[in-house]
């Protein structure tokens, strides 16, 4: 099935995330992010990709104030998040993390209903909506009363995505959400996310260390080097066609024996094996 870009016409609002000269250093002197200037466009998937220690998770967490920048700003639609109440802010932003981060003492349906209940939706109503969301993310309703440990890794991640969407946020932050599942399930989850995104048109900031995943999902890819420096940003096609420097080239695997090239909308390696797909 061909998956096109999100249908934006019917989505009137614009929801943009912007980092302005944003830096974060820790007490021990580590500079996680330095002078970051970056925009995540409305209703698009922006993928932050880089190896561990490049500050990508820190960047994500600055958006919902889990991490406070040392200097600079993070803005959502031109409003500095520092001016918003952190708890209210977080309830308005979907957050999906690795290993799902589900509450182990709550059933599937209650996990999904978490944020609406926090926002004051009556529990019955929130559960009803949660059941609908289970279908949206491809979970059988028979899972509704199971606890997280009774679900497979892939199912847990689906619950995590459903929970992130439950309060119908405009923004979804996804921190390596598919990092802990096997490749087949991961490909499945990636397809589902693209299908959902075509329907919902959220502004998604997605963190991964997997370049193939970035190419598959990203409308825009931001390749990060150590210290949160942007090595290159652009659409997957732009980056694949013109890697800016050696770092990007090696990150893409374009150097040496494992060079990738684009064939139609597929990214294939020299043996013709597809490793990704241009969204």
């Amino acid at each position: 099935m061909q998956i096109g870009p999100p249908q934006l016409a019917r989505v009137g609002r614009w929801v943009m995330i912007e980092f302005r000269n944003t830096s974060k250093s820790y007490d021990d002197g580590t500079l996680a992010v330095s002078e970051l200037n970056l925009t995540a466009a409305s209703h698009e998937i922006t993928v932050l990709v880089g190896s561990s220690g490049c500050g990508k998770t820190t960047m994500l967490r600055m958006v919902n104030r889990l991490v406070t920048p040392t200097s600079g700003q993070v803005l959502i639609d031109d409003v500095d998040v520092a001016d918003r109440h952190p708890v209210e802010l977080r309830r308005s932003i979907g957050y999906v993390m690795q290993n799902s981060g589900l509450l182990p003492h709550r059933t599937t349906v209650d996990n999904i209903a978490t944020v609406p209940v926090l926002r004051g939706t009556p529990v019955r109503e929130a559960r009803k909506r949660a059941l609908e969301l289970m279908e949206t993310v491809g979970l059988d309703r028979s899972m509704a009363r199971r606890y997280p440990w009774q679900l497979s890794g892939g199912q847990q991640q689906r619950v995590g995505v459903a929970r992130g969407l439950a309060a119908d946020p405009n923004i979804l932050l996804m921190d390596e959400p598919f990092g802990a599942v096997d490749p087949i399930v991961r490909a499945d989850l990636q397809r589902e996310l693209l299908r959902l995104q075509a329907e919902l048109g959220k502004t998604i900031l997605f963190v991964t260390h997997d370049i193939a995943e970035a190419i598959t999902l990203g409308d825009k890819i931001v390749i990060l080097a150590k210290g949160g420096r942007i090595a290159q940003q652009g659409s997957p096609a732009e980056i694949m066609a013109e890697p800016k420097d050696e770092f990007v080239t090696s990150f893409l695997g374009l150097d040496g024996g494992r060079s990738l090239h684009v064939d139609g909308d597929l990214v294939v390696d020299p043996s013709g094996r597809p490793v990704g797909r241009l969204a």
């Binding site: 919902n64 889990l66 708890v87 209210e88 802010l89 977080r90 309830r91 308005s92 957050y95 993390m97 290993n99 981060g101 589900l102 509450l103 182990p104 003492h105 709550r106 978490t114 944020v115 926090l118 926002r119 009363r145 199971r146 606890y147 440990w149 009774q150 929970r163």
Partner: protein, 225 residues
């Protein structure tokens, strides 16, 4: 012994009236103290040391010193409950601090990211997840409290302990034995009641993960309908 059923029942009731409030106090006071110890790492050492020292106070002197502080009489049940509660808190603080420390940081982070405020996160996430370990600690405290109550009989406060003192003084072996058996029965019943309460309050029972990282096979197949 059957003729004395009424006396034993009265003493059991009096025993529970001393032990149960002390157990409740232990839990209610120890959890906030443990929260402080768990939240502010620097306070942890001194708080746990203080708890250890309190626990080391011999019980009879404590029963006699406390009234001076509380302004109650030595034989008041308030005095006895306060002393038992103090030992319970001292014992429970360490269990509770360990229980709170053991809650997964990732889960707490996830709760924060969902938009839990600090209070709601504590009562809705941290406390329930620490629940099984808190319960394990509380069971020890409960049994220890029930078996500490008889000491108060030396002050003349009514409990199953009076069966010991009275039995010793009058040389009635059956009375001493009845006191011992009844105390053990009370301890076991209180313990079982706590286990039941735990099942009721914590229905999610997460299976222990085996060393190889897999769950117990029998548990794996169980799924609530």
């Amino acid at each position: 012994m059957l003729d004395n059923g009424g006396t034993i029942a009265d003493a059991t009731w009096a025993h529970l009236l001393l032990a149960l409030p002390a157990i409740v106090i232990s839990f209610v006071v120890a959890v906030p103290v443990a929260w402080v110890a768990s939240r502010f790492r620097r306070s942890r050492f001194s708080l746990l040391l203080l708890a250890g020292l309190i626990y080391a106070i011999p019980s009879l002197p404590l029963f006699i010193i406390l009234p001076l502080v509380l302004g109650t009489s030595v034989r008041s049940i308030v005095n006895v409950i306060a002393a038992l509660g103090l030992y319970g808190v001292a014992l429970m603080v360490r269990y509770a601090a360990d229980a709170l420390d053991a809650v997964s940081g990732d889960t707490v982070l996830a709760a924060t990211a969902m938009g839990y405020g600090p209070w709601r996160r504590f009562f809705g996430v941290q406390l329930p997840l620490a629940g099984p370990a808190l319960l394990a600690g509380l069971r020890v405290v409960a049994v220890s409290t029930v078996s500490l109550v008889p000491v108060s009989a030396l002050l003349g406060v009514n409990s199953l302990g009076l069966l010991f003192t009275d039995g010793f003084q009058r040389g009635i072996f059956a009375e001493v034995l009845a006191g011992i058996v009844a105390t053990v029965v009370v301890a076991v019943v209180v313990d079982l009641a706590l286990v039941m309460l735990g099942r009721l309050l914590m229905p999610w029972e997460i299976p222990r993960v085996r060393r190889d990282g897999r769950r117990d096979a029998e548990v794996e197949t169980v799924a609530p309908s």
